[in-house]
């Protein structure tokens, strides 16, 4: 049916795109870890990352595409921090009855707001951001575009930077303390509100980076974030909510599953459409049989 070459090609693509999935999922898991919030606007953060990059590089013009990614991240840092400050504080302070639902509703409202804001301002038509670099790389039967390699490489670099930050920096340690026990951290002199704010901002920025990095490859459109949002949930549940290595491993796995799963359905048009379904099936199976995922804590 399909040659071995095809599998390797799909596998390589899966790995590469998986790095980008992992980056976005990392942001989601960080937000969950520190704030205990499942962020339903994560897809829109991703989308805005792409649009901000487009804005700077194409509309303002004459700017290095890499700066577009940086710009996207900065904008999302601001959006994330502002949203947390304005809307999530009561939850951090313990003033809310059903904090889980509160957070879902707020981030859901934010997702509505952002998606339609971009739609209203930029219109429904897709846009393309310029490539980072033309051309590609060829190893044997596998050929991957330069854009994808650069995106994956930068994603890995960002993930590494984040891991270093969390493990080695003072703020990173403080965030870990808050994620384990907000009250204990508070008593130890750490400000949980500030740490939550930083974590949410960084999480948003990671999603934005992912969006900006993928934009040259797939283009942008106001609802470009809807599927990645669901995919991020799948990855985070698979890896374990709040687990960093879970998000990274989960991202790679889902990347591979989506790329290679298509090979199992002979009907090409169906195969592409059902790609998403594979992830959803994994999602459902994990939820039903091992809700804590690969590396999460037992419930």
């Amino acid at each position: 049916m399909y040659g071995l070459d095809y599998f390797f090609m799909q596998g390589a693509n899966g790995l590469v795109i998986g790095c980008l999935y992992a980056l976005m999922a990392l942001g989601l898991t960080l937000i969950f870890s520190v704030l205990k919030v499942v962020n339903f606007a994560h897809g829109e953060f991703y989308m805005i990352g792409g649009y901000m990059s487009y804005f700077l590089v194409t509309l303002v013009g004459g700017v290095n595409p890499f700066l577009g990614v940086l710009f996207g991240m900065v904008v999302l840092l601001v959006i994330g921090s502002t949203f947390d400050y304005l809307f999530l504080r009561p939850m951090h302070r313990g003033e809310v009855d059903r904090p889980g639902e509160y957070a879902i509703l707020l981030t859901f409202g934010l997702s509505f707001f952002l998606q339609n804001l971009v739609l209203a301002v930029a219109g429904p038509f897709p846009h393309r951001t310029p490539s980072f670099m033309e051309g590609g790389v060829r190893i044997g039967a596998i050929s991957i575009s330069a854009d994808r390699l650069i995106a994956a490489g930068l994603a890995l670099a960002l993930m590494l930077a984040l891991l270093t930050f969390i493990k080695l920096s003072w703020t990173g340690m403080a965030m870990r303390a808050v994620s384990q026990d907000q009250d204990a951290a508070s008593v130890a002199g750490i400000n949980p509100l500030r740490m939550s704010n930083i974590a949410f901002a960084i999480g948003a920025a990671l999603a934005g980076a992912s969006g900006a990095l993928i934009a040259p490859i797939f283009g942008i459109v106001p609802d470009v974030g809807v599927l990645p949002s669901i995919r991020s949930f799948i990855i985070v549940v698979l890896g374990g909510m709040g687990s960093i290595k879970g998000a990274i491993l989960g991202g790679i796995i889902i990347g591979l599953v989506e790329s290679m799963g298509a090979a199992f359905i002979p009907d090409m048009s169906r195969a592409l459409a059902y790609r998403q379904l594979y992830g959803l099936m994994i999602f459902v199976i994990v939820l039903l049989f091992r809700p804590r995922g690969l590396f999460g804590e037992a419930q």
């Binding site: 509505f112 707001f113 669901i230 379904l277």
Partner: protein, 310 residues
């Protein structure tokens, strides 16, 4: 049956009379259409209030259950010679049965996990309907027969109006009965409810099944009113709209949620020229209500006027 207070009686009678008289004063086909859709959304918002506001189950599955009923009914009409009414009933039963199944699976989930699981279910249904286009005509949508052999919107108006009144009445009675107290106890703390003798398995499933049946009713109505059903209607955005309507009205009050659905649909229709900006405002309103007016905008008003929680 507990004696209905005077003020509540006046409100209900007023709403019913008012509703019954609308087509007398409103002749525009367009506005009757808007009313019809408003009642439809009112019904959907009420079902969400029932499941989340009262029983505490934050489920995204309602819209998928609507799709299931609608597609079942329309496909039966297309491929079998069964009577129209039977198709509708089978459609509703289909969503009831799937609702039972989902309710059973959801027994083990709470909060965000319940939300995520039901999103997965909803998305899965939507993707399957979208992809199996040989059966469902995919994104192009499935054509469905109309209820009535007329271009007038009046019979549709009265049909949804009667459906709405009966559905709300049934849900109202359930919520005022001991079942309502059990739902609320489950919402507040299901472990404690169980420790106090409430059969939480039975009542959680009942909550799902009742909700599914009403979503099925809404689904078959929508399908044969719109004469078309597309998988896009089952997107998370639509569910989000319904949830937002219920929350803005007041999710823990059935009537407030219903009115939230009706009024917001009117609002969104009236502001049609604003295009996507309407939804920007909707999203913003939802965030502001959740942050600053957790009980919704209409529920406190209801409480003040009527003096009761429901």
């Amino acid at each position: 049956m507990k004696h209905i207070g005077l003020r509540k009686g006046i409100l209900f009678v007023g709403l019913i009379l008012g509703g019954a008289l609308v087509p007398v004063f409103v002749e525009s086909s367009y506005w009757l259409h808007v009313f019809t859709m408003a009642y439809f959304y009112g019904l959907m918002a009420a079902t969400w209030s029932f499941l989340d506001g009262y029983a505490g189950q934050f489920s995204f599955a309602n819209i998928a259950l609507l799709l299931i009923a609608g597609y079942t009914s329309a496909l039966l009409a297309k491929h079998t010679g069964l009577p129209f009414l039977l198709n509708l009933i089978i459609g509703i039963i289909a969503s009831g049965v799937i609702g039972l199944f989902i309710g059973y699976l959801c027994l083990r989930f709470k909060g965000a996990y319940l939300a995520l699981f039901t999103i997965a279910f909803s998305e899965g249904i939507r993707i399957i309907i979208n992809t199996e286009h040989q059966v469902t005509r995919g994104p192009a949508g499935l054509h469905a027969d109309a209820f009535f052999d007329t271009t007038s919107k009046v019979p549709y108006y009265y049909l949804i109006f009667i459906i709405l009144v009966i559905s709300i009445f049934i849900m109202y009675r359930i919520l005022r009965s001991k079942w309502g107290l059990f739902f609320m106890a489950i919402r507040e703390d299901d472990e404690v409810a169980s420790a106090l003798g409430v059969n939480i398995v039975r009542y959680k499933i009942i909550a799902f099944v009742v909700t599914s049946i009403f979503c099925g009713v809404a689904g078959v109505f929508y399908t044969h009113f719109n004469q078309m059903l597309t998988p896009n209607f089952g997107e998370i955005a639509t569910m989000g709209l319904v949830i937002g309507m219920a929350i803005i009205g007041g999710v823990e009050n059935l009537i407030a949620a219903m009115l939230g659905g009706i009024l917001l649909e009117f609002g969104l229709e009236s502001l049609r020229e604003l295009g996507a900006w309407r939804m920007v405002a909707f999203g913003g309103l939802l965030m502001i209500v959740v942050r600053f007016a957790r009980n919704g905008l209409l529920a406190p008003l209801y409480r003040k006027l009527i003096g009761e929680e429901l």
